[in-house]
């Protein structure tokens, strides 16, 4: 255990939320990616976070794995799309933009909360180092 462990623990939270932001941006950027019905649609990205046992001497969170949603998507009738099959259908990813925006807010606020912890911890440590100087 180091003296300034809070900083490292909050850094792991920042990393996890940054990866969540990456996943959300990946999902939103591909929300209109059409594929032919013979291929699978863009699979929604999910971040699986896992707590690191504090007793292990580390603490914090880590991203265990990235999970992928269904490649089924939704089949849309777009006969003019060059990717359309002979019946005029293409496949779109089944991603809800509202859900992604909600996740975006959560990831952003989580990132900011971890930064706030780092800020407060730094100020706290500095206050402790000022002890007895006045």
């Amino acid at each position: 255990m180091g003296v300034f462990d809070t900083l490292g623990i909050s850094a792991s939270g920042l990393l996890a939320h940054r990866k969540w932001l990456d996943a959300v941006s990946d999902n939103i950027s591909n929300i209109n990616t059409a594929t032919s019905t013979s291929q699978s649609a863009f699979k929604e990205r999910f971040i699986e976070a896992q707590a690191v046992n504090y007793g292990s001497g580390e603490g914090g969170v880590r991203v265990a794995t990235a999970q992928f949603g269904s490649g089924q998507g939704r089949v849309v009738y777009e006969p003019k799309n060059p990717l359309a099959d002979k019946n005029g259908y293409v496949r779109y990813p089944d991603i809800d933009l509202g859900d992604q925006m909600a996740q975006l807010i959560m990831a952003q606020r989580g990132y900011q909360a971890n930064l706030a912890v780092i800020d407060r911890a730094t100020k706290t440590y500095q206050a402790a180092l000022q002890l007895g100087k006045g």
Partner: protein
């Protein structure tokens, strides 16, 4: 050190005749007394503390280099490392100042 005035016991370990003649006698006899009372002596505590500071600062330096070359993966990594290096420096300097203050107070003691 177990009691606030145990420094007096520490001082008593100075050989009265050796202080003026040979300065190293005072330090060599004082160190075992400090170790017996409170574990590691101050020199080794300061040395390990400086080693830790060195490691923290070189980590921050490495990340600064990555930021300059565009290899930095996470912005917060560098910011936190430099923050930690700054805090560690402040802590080491604070400990050093306290120790020097304590030494000066003892040296300024009227005999």
């Amino acid at each position: 050190m177990t009691s606030p005035i145990s420094a007096l016991g520490f001082m008593s370990s100075f050989p009265t005749s050796g202080v003026g003649a040979d300065m190293s006698v005072g330090t060599t006899t004082a160190a075992p007394a400090a170790q017996a009372a409170g574990g590691a002596d101050f020199a080794s505590v300061l040395a390990s503390s400086l080693d830790g500071l060195q490691a923290t600062q070189s980590k921050a330096d490495g990340l600064a280099l990555q930021a300059a070359t565009g290899d930095l993966k996470d912005v917060h990594d560098y910011m936190i490392a430099s923050n930690e290096a700054s805090l560690a420096t402040q802590m080491t300097v604070a400990i050093k100042n306290k120790a020097v203050d304590a030494f000066n107070q003892i040296m300024g003691m009227p005999v």
